[in-house]
Symmetry: C2
Subunit: 447 residues, 2 copies
């Protein structure tokens, strides 16, 4: 008797969802992968897109192209909004506002997390986060636009404000962005300006913890602090941001002292939270959420009482695993294997176990911190290790060659060509000033 | 007696403005170059950006970087809005809405042209033009998004509408876009979809004239028509567009017959007009404008009665010269040389003469039409000639290497990786439907 193949719905095409889909491509199942974007994003290099080294296409690959050969996998561009756990259906928003639903026998939740402003969503338009390609493009226009705004400012205080970058959150993204902005200022833009000195740009990095990259352990943390200091990044550890506006931010230190910093550019890389889908799933299944809204799951990644729903990647809350690409890949692989076994009538009761292969953060050209193979690397050696690891992990041959080319030019010639913007990008982006400055000056400063 | 160096203001950083600035970099003058964008755009390859082969950074180069070594040239991001001819001042809008003005001894107008809808600006949001990077990005999201919309459409008529691309205007941009869209449909997206067949996409090319690329002469025109036909582009010559809406367009043929075509994607590559600055200059100087608003100038490119104001590139109306990159380069070079001579006390009364080095249009992989060295090339030979010419003209070594890499992957592996978009790009882009469709279907069509 021929049973129809079981239906697997995967929500999210990040590392977890993609690894699950690929694992299931040889199983006797029909897979539907949903994502709100048409691409899989190599999120760990988003900061290279935000700082003009690589184009969007180098760190993103079309999911349809990646899944082209997996004939039992279908991709649908749609945003999952909720589930009907009893009826085994996923509800989703589709293009142009319609609704669509997908029946499933197995559901893999892999929708990731988004930037959290810890209850202060009003900061979002002022201080963009760094989770999506759109975020990166916005930050790119902010960074390169800030130097133009400084160049055209007449008031020295305004000029200084545009040349001040305040980054909130000293995790990998904050550390990498901070390093890159100093490199843009001191290398990329060298000799491009006539009135300002781009190298005067200040980069302030705020974090409530004791050290940057605290999650990587004290050794890497110390290496990162040293390298950031050498680059001229000003570290403000033990600092809680209490207020953000278009002109700067206010920070409380360990002694409760409040200090205001004038900064025309505030970037937010501080925290994450699960998307609204997690709450909808929790409501539909009775599952628990942790403080960031992630879904608590069992050792087999399933939700309690719902063996047909597996949680993977950043969306899952299990054993305090960190929200890194590797956890996502390994959990996606596990979910795919488990369903693959069960679809073939085999039991699969091996629990999920995460194998920590290491951590890495890129600080600037010639400087990176890496822990791998039970060793720690910093500075130049760390940088080479970082390069090799990341070339290996990039999705697709073309992206690898393209990225190597982009790096080559960035490293040897200080070129960051991916940085187009126009005059009209700026008032919108700056957002801040309701009343535009209307002074009239006479230009032409070239001696 | 030391006189202060004369001030030259150049409005626009396209081919004309950039060539003028570079020519003046060795003259005893101070140059200020204004542009609303921070980049110089290699406009002839904009369609490659719009169809996902090349990233923005490959066809655009930061003007500051290009002018870095020319220490007597200053770049300012600002949009010229008018001039005071008697007081020799250019007025401009600068970032965040302020105004700035620039005194000049010489003014070079090189602000180009923009898309014209021939009095129907209401078509603009429905049928985007192709003049800027922003335009190309919008068209890119439209093209790749249309296939997603077709895939998720349930109504067969809606599906067909999304798979129909109507291009208005069979000049180089229209012809190149038409060829590329067919190539995307038949090559790039092959086997990426499960419900639709991308190769079913229809590309209709409308033009009031007798043949595509009419400006290139009958030989190239015939070659182009043949190659487009082979690709499956449907040519509708002698057709005047009388109405455009979100669902399609209406066309009048030579016999006065009106026909409506249903098309979810209308792209406008039909006409150009001078920017408002031209009218402001005409008012301030008494200069005449032609039908497209371009400024009529003398054989020395100066405005009548204003030897200190030179018009270059697409903005000038002289001897019915075509609006192509080469005219812009040569006129910019001429303006630079003339001012350079005069600044050194020499007279320069050689009139401007355009040397036609040829024309070229790319149709698809392995197909291009080129006239050069008094010869005509079509098909595969034309394509090779096109490749060599365009690699030579690209600005900067990195862009050349990057473009060759992008082409290599596009040609050998059908990869167009520069095509990221999300669900949310679509309702905005489609714009058309005020009421979103709200039907609910059950997905999962994989057998």
């Amino acid at each position: 008797m021929n049973q129809p193949a079981r239906r697997v719905v995967i929500v999210g095409g990040g590392f977890a969802g993609l690894f699950a889909a690929r694992t299931l491509s040889s199983a006797p199942v029909r897979v539907t992968l949903l994502d709100r974007a048409e691409h899989h994003l190599f999120q760990p290099m988003l900061y290279q897109c935000a700082t003009g080294i690589l184009s969007e296409g180098k760190i993103a690959a079309p999911l349809r192209d990646l899944l082209r050969k997996h004939r039992n996998v279908e991709f649908v561009i749609a945003e999952a909004t909720g589930i009907d756990a009893a009826g085994r259906r996923v509800l989703a928003r589709r293009p142009l506002g319609g609704q669509i639903e997908f029946g499933y026998d197995y559901l893999i939740l892999a929708a990731g997390v988004r930037q959290s402003y810890f209850g202060h969503d009003e900061y979002a338009p002022i201080a963009p986060g760094m989770k999506t390609i759109e975020d990166a493009m916005k930050i790119r226009r902010r960074i390169f636009g800030a130097f133009e705004l400084a160049e055209s400012a007449e008031d020295p205080a305004e000029r200084t404000r545009w040349l001040t970058f305040a980054l909130v959150g000293a995790g990998p993204t904050g550390v990498e962005l901070a390093g890159q902005i100093r490199e843009v200022a001191t290398k990329t833009l060298r000799r491009e300006y006539r009135r300002i000195r781009p190298e005067d740009a200040r980069v302030l990095l705020f974090d409530g913890g004791d050290a940057p990259l605290a999650m990587f352990g004290p050794k890497l943390s110390a290496l990162a602090a040293r390298d950031l200091g050498k680059l001229g990044v000003e570290l403000h550890m033990g600092s809680i941001v209490t207020h953000v506006d278009a002109g700067g931010l206010e920070v409380k230190d360990r002694d409760g002292q409040l200090t205001r910093y004038e900064a025309g550019n505030v970037l937010w890389t501080a925290g994450v939270e699960a998307p609204p889908l997690a709450a909808a799933v929790a409501k539909a299944t009775g599952a628990q959420q942790d403080r960031a809204g992630r879904l608590l799951c069992g050792k087999d990644l399933s939700l309690p009482g719902h063996p047909d729903i597996l949680v993977t990647g950043d969306m899952m809350s299990l054993d305090k695993l960190p929200g890194v690409a590797e956890v996502a890949m390994q959990s996606g692989l596990y979910a795919g294997r488990k369903i693959s076994h069960e679809a073939q009538g085999q039991t699969y009761d091996k629990p999920f176990r995460y194998h920590d292969l290491g951590s890495a953060a890129y600080i600037s050209r010639g400087k990176a911190v890496v822990s791998a193979f039970k060793m720690h690397f910093g500075g130049f050696v760390g940088w080479w290790v970082w390069l090799f690891i990341h070339i290996g992990f990039l999705t697709g041959y073309r992206n690898r060659v393209g990225a190597i080319l982009g790096w080559w030019f960035a490293f040897t010639r200080d070129l960051r060509r991916e940085r187009t913007f126009t005059l009209d990008d700026m008032p919108l982006e700056a957002g801040a000033y309701e009343e535009p400055t209307t002074s009239t000056i006479s230009g032409n400063s070239v001696p």
